[in-house]
Symmetry: C2
Subunit: 560 residues, 2 copies
Amino acid sequence: MVTQSWEAKAEKARERLARSIAKEWLLDKSSCPSHGRLNVMDVPEESGRLSVEEILITNSDASGLVSKMEIGEWTAEQVTVAYLKRATIGHQLLNMATEFMVEDALAQARALDEYYRQHKKLVGPLHGVPISTKEHISHKGRLVHASYVALVDNVAAEDAFLVRLLKASGAVFHLRTNEPQTMMTGDTENNLTGRTKNGHNLRLANGGSSGGEGASVSFKCAAIGLGTDIGGSIRIPAAFNGCYGFRPTACRLPYGGVFLPGEGQESIRCVIGPLTRGIDDIELLMSSVLVQKPWEEELSLVPLPWKSAATSKNITIGVMWSDGIVNPQPPMQRALRMTVEKLKAAGVTVVDFEPYKTAEAMDIITSKQGSIFDSSLDNLLTYIALFFPDGGKTQWDLLKQSGEPVYQQSRAMLEIAREITVAENWAYNARRDALRNEFHSLMTQRGVNVILTAPYPGAAPLVGTVDYGVYTMLWNMLDMPALVMPVGLTVDPTLDRKSPSYQTISEYDKGQFDKFDAEDSVGAPVCVQVVGKHFRDEETIAAARIIEVALARTAVVPAL
Amino acid sequence: MVTQSWEAKAEKARERLARSIAKEWLLDKSSCPSHGRLNVMDVPEESGRLSVEEILITNSDASGLVSKMEIGEWTAEQVTVAYLKRATIGHQLLNMATEFMVEDALAQARALDEYYRQHKKLVGPLHGVPISTKEHISHKGRLVHASYVALVDNVAAEDAFLVRLLKASGAVFHLRTNEPQTMMTGDTENNLTGRTKNGHNLRLANGGSSGGEGASVSFKCAAIGLGTDIGGSIRIPAAFNGCYGFRPTACRLPYGGVFLPGEGQESIRCVIGPLTRGIDDIELLMSSVLVQKPWEEELSLVPLPWKSAATSKNITIGVMWSDGIVNPQPPMQRALRMTVEKLKAAGVTVVDFEPYKTAEAMDIITSKQGSIFDSSLDNLLTYIALFFPDGGKTQWDLLKQSGEPVYQQSRAMLEIAREITVAENWAYNARRDALRNEFHSLMTQRGVNVILTAPYPGAAPLVGTVDYGVYTMLWNMLDMPALVMPVGLTVDPTLDRKSPSYQTISEYDKGQFDKFDAEDSVGAPVCVQVVGKHFRDEETIAAARIIEVALARTAVVPAL
């Protein structure tokens, strides 16, 4: 047998992607944005390739789509076609897809319409909602490679459990999206289908690892996206793309059928979660899944039904202005300040929340001997050794198997990853549990229901410069539900100036401060992060609603 | 500094124990049972050292004690004294204590009585209930050594979390009990306080590792006992001593403050659970703890309140007559047959339940390369390497530190324990999860709510011959709640004869069959095991009640 070169293998993935695209929906050259244009978010509308109704459909969130289909105003097929068309343009501009599933999606949609015609009701709460999925979430009979060239011929035996449950709720799967090599970096690029771009500013990082989903959801190529998150992989792309991203507490959403070499790692669990264009859709997804009692099939799940929490202003929000290592940059500070002001104006109790043992949390998750903060290292995303307790052997072996080039981001991480023994792993588990208990108890002592903080020091930085994951990883380490949401601001060089008298608080802070330039990130949306107590996913979402209402409320001229 | 010999260190533990005994409650020589007497269970009554009321008190279960204290018929002090007196005798005969806490218990009891006098109500649902605890469950300010001579001077900084919660419910802690070296063997003997005996027949094994609790509860030295179970350590002593023992699903009862070198091992979690003299008391303990929401303090717990399940005969009980490797011995077969007959007579649906992948379950839990059943090994308790993924280094180091002699049972286990890598550990975790999912789904497919099976191939065997843990370890591996309960039978050589034509089903079966002799175990109580689905602790207990009612019901002459 002739051994294929890695290039030939990678070409297979690109061919599969190319074949899956419906060419008639591509923009012709004349509709493509001009060279040098940075923000391409409005191209679908400008192109004239979508009808007014298709624009309405793709502007609608999942909850809105379902209500229109319930009254028969839109069909599932219409909705699917509209999203497929927009997704085709989205991919053309942002390189976000790994595969379109046009025929399957249309067949699903037609079957839903047929059901609706016969029974005069919807199949389920997600009837006809187009959902995109990060590539490593399995679809039966389709290839799934987790972005490893070596695995380009790997076929999924079954749908991921979550995909199966969502199909039972009526969801339509039309699109699979891109992710980075090794899945552990904060931006999205691999040797199979390349790099995914940020539609708000093509010079900026799109985020990762669920970067394809960040692009898909913000560009309205899908109503909901499914990503995975072990250190921020849902929330970073949500933050960089200006959409919503939710990392639920571990063991609530079914994880079976997520293809990720190294399964069985439980010290910091990778979780699956939604990216959306609104809070309602996060709740819609969570409730649609949990009403099906997935814990009856995936025993590692906790049997907690979804119980929507009351949205009561009678909560206390603690603002963590900084993680204590790197302070947020001017646009993020502005977003946090504005949010706090509007919350206070709306009568919500907001208190300062001092960061607590951030360094200890990072030492645990990175499993470094001694503190990582004692070393002069400049990329805190590279030391997440507790995710690689075999010293990255699983990843190295796969990379070497095909001989594909190793990206600098992967290499930096894998070269530092250190093999730990089972006994060391236990000791980290015990420290992890102690810190989780302490942090929870601290919130209770301080009377704080949820924490408001940054998801990243700033908005999306330039491509290739994503390098600080502490604001997201902290909550993976603590296993707390965390939701990223836009606040309606974008980076503005006239407002987001660095103060020349700024005193840096650490070497890392200096690094981030020095490289920040608002001109780079102009137009990038700014998001904040809302973090709830362990297992209080419902309350976290309710708190995010309060914030959203407050943000909208004071924007309106008060009545006399 | 002079290094102490292990003997001198061990002597400290014995001195502490001796000092803690109230000498006035000891039996004098004349009341001690005659040499050669095997069953000493009735000695307290025969001795005349307990008043009639004290006998009534110690015959009462926890629920009964509380109801008497509620109406003011007994005081907590009276109850505590009665149990302390009986426990003193129990220890004298069975060597079950590591420490009495007479002064503390009496002070607790008096404070409870004072509260009752002032407020005319009980402190909580366990007001005045004397509870004994396995030695490695911490009590603030007291030594805790987990039976390692090297740790004989180790002082607990805090009460174990469960102890604290139970104190808040009104429980009184008066007695700490014995456990074996390394805590991983099926009987109870160590170099500090020696071997604990079985009061039903002094020649028989008392079980382990919560052997002191098995003796304490069955001899009525405590109303409730707290043990720990990672492979059967609650259920084996319950089975050998003829009391009730419950291993809840992991992450329901708080585990913090259990002192066991090697914390952070999560692949097969060690759990804490009760030994009792009735089903009501198991439920009383579980509900008293969970009503206090321990998950607010110990974050690894699952936030599931205790919801008593309806005791409905409308369930299906699957009888697993054998694990497929070793068939139950004649007394156990008789107990299972009788239970099934009585259940059927009571109108309960009972079906056969074929064992499922027992060998795979054991291969996972033992982490042996290849199948353990391919080797000619005769002690299946010795291969639980998934409990020792550091190859037993933690244990060896502690044993070597003091130089204490290593018991043959510990040695056999630790010599075979093999260090596995983190990556191997992951692979076992994944196989474990797959089997858990399969088993649960199989029960659903077969329409079986709970499984009735043996807890051990037979009743208590001779001292030194406990060597088969599959009937209990299986449910730790599957993380299913499992309850051991007596059925009212004891081993009877006239009924429990071996059939000369018996066909053994495996090498292990032959080993067990060959060594079984009903004469050895004469008088030993026979218990069965009721196993429920993952997280359905409440339903498991409800099913055990159905079995108990059925067992009692047909013993009564039917009305005409």
